[in-house]
Amino acid sequence: MSRDPTEAKRLRDLRREIQPELVTLERRLFLRSGLSLGALSLLSGCDLSTGTNGTLIDRTLWAMSRANDRVQAWLFDPNTLAPTYPASMIDKPFRFNAYYPPDNVPEIDEATWKLDVSGLVSDKTPWTLPRLRALPQESQITRHICIEGWSQIGQWSGVPLKSFLERVGADLTAKYVGFKCADRYYGSLDMPSALHPQTVLALDFGGEALPLEYGYPLRVRVPTKLGFKSPKHIVSVFVTNDYPGGYWEDQGYNWFSGI
């Protein structure tokens, strides 16, 4: 390592820049061995380095997860609302949850922040916060259920995604709505879930502008899906027929993850 302070700073910056990729790469490698590792060590209890059995098991589990996507899409009723709760049941403090620790929350400059809109939409004009705030808002007190098992009740309010998609002239017959985030997280929803009346682009949490750690300045809130399907700090919305995947889904979490 160089002792030259400018060189050291350059290396530090570089490291910070590749950190998210490193984390992603680690997780992916972990999954590839993860899906087969447990199985192989239990079924054979011996060599884990050969992938023949593991690949077959991984392929089977992956196929089952895709079949479960279809079962869940069939089970999903667009008119079934997630249960709502009184304000007295709101959980405080609310858990911080991300693929990084709280001090890595992305810094957002409100003055330059905008929401890009792309794909199968007629109006691709980027949105600013005041324009989003000017749209009709919906509020909900619903249960956030994490894929880890825990759940908490919170209050979110913002623009129903359906009315936003209608306003930008989105092709509502397209298959997917995708999101990209300031923290390099990304995700996607099936169109029926995106059009669900409780799916919102949330601007507020607990009656105040989204705090930094809960997705400032704009997040998705989908009370009919597991928590990881509601990306935070979003900077881009797109409508597409090409499967966009997601940060966790690409590593093995079930894509539909409806509840």
Binding site: F30, L31, S33, G34, L35, S36, L37, G38, A39, L42, T60, L61, W62, M64, S65, N68, L75, F76, D77, T80, L81, A82, P83, R143, I145, C146, I147, E148, G149, W150, S151, P223, T224, W248, Q251, G252, Y253, N254, G258, I259
Partner: protein
């Protein structure tokens, strides 16, 4: 527990093929459900303990969930096949009935005084109760599991358990009960190893003229 080797006997089918096949498919499915379920539990423990790493399946939460949501189909569909067979081929009626609290008490006290004879091919009242409980726990695991998987789409079912958070506890409790059954089941198989062979071949030597209990 001793077995009656004396007296006239014959070899007969005590476990029909459907029971044997569904038993072993169920053994694999339950193994996958338990070990992956414990890995899922570890991601957010309900109680102040976690399951040891060797008792988990899937390697990480995503892998464990993939196992759990794949094996659940095997567990449910195999269980359904067994239940249909049990009802329509009168397997349940023939093997598990009649069952009365008095008979359970009689056989339980006899077993505790080591005076209950194990007669292969016919279940005593304690066994009947244990198998019935295991079957009911399986149904409870399926129902509470469905409530956890779909607490919004199946909110009526989730509400039966008192909502999502209570369904988690019911699911855990039912799992604990089933594990208790499995431990007892395995202990008894070790005590009377012939029963293990019988669940594979389906056949066992049984006395021609069976006697209720022996001193």
């Amino acid at each position: 527990m001793s077995s009656s080797a004396a007296g006239p006997s014959r070899i007969t089918v005590i476990h029909p093929l459907v029971v044997r096949v569904t038993h072993w498919i169920n053994a694999v499915a339950v193994f996958c459900m338990l070990f992956s379920g414990w890995a899922i539990y570890n991601a957010s423990p309900l109680f102040p303990f976690v399951f040891p790493k060797w008792a988990t399946l899937g390697g990480w939460l995503g892998g464990a969930l993939a196992w759990h949501f794949a094996a659940m189909w095997l567990f449910a569909l195999n269980g359904l096949a067994y239940a249909l067979y049990g009802l329509f081929a009168r397997h349940f009626a023939k093997s598990f009935l009649p069952l009365s609290p008095g008979a359970v008490w009689r056989d339980a006290t006899a077993a505790l005084r080591l005076r209950l004879t194990h007669r292969i091919g016919q279940y005593n009242a304690v066994q009947r109760l244990a198998y019935l409980m295991a079957f009911l726990l399986g149904i409870l695991l399926l129902a509470s599991g469905l409530a956890l998987w779909k607490p919004v789409q199946l909110q009526g079912l989730a509400n039966l358990f008192g909502g999502y958070e209570w369904a988690r506890r019911v699911h855990f409790l039912a799992m604990s009960g089933l594990v208790g059954f499995i431990l007892l089941h395995l202990a008894l198989v070790i005590l009377v190893p012939r029963t293990f062979v019988a669940m594979i071949t389906g056949r066992a030597r049984v006395p021609v003229d069976p006697v209720e209990t022996r001193p």
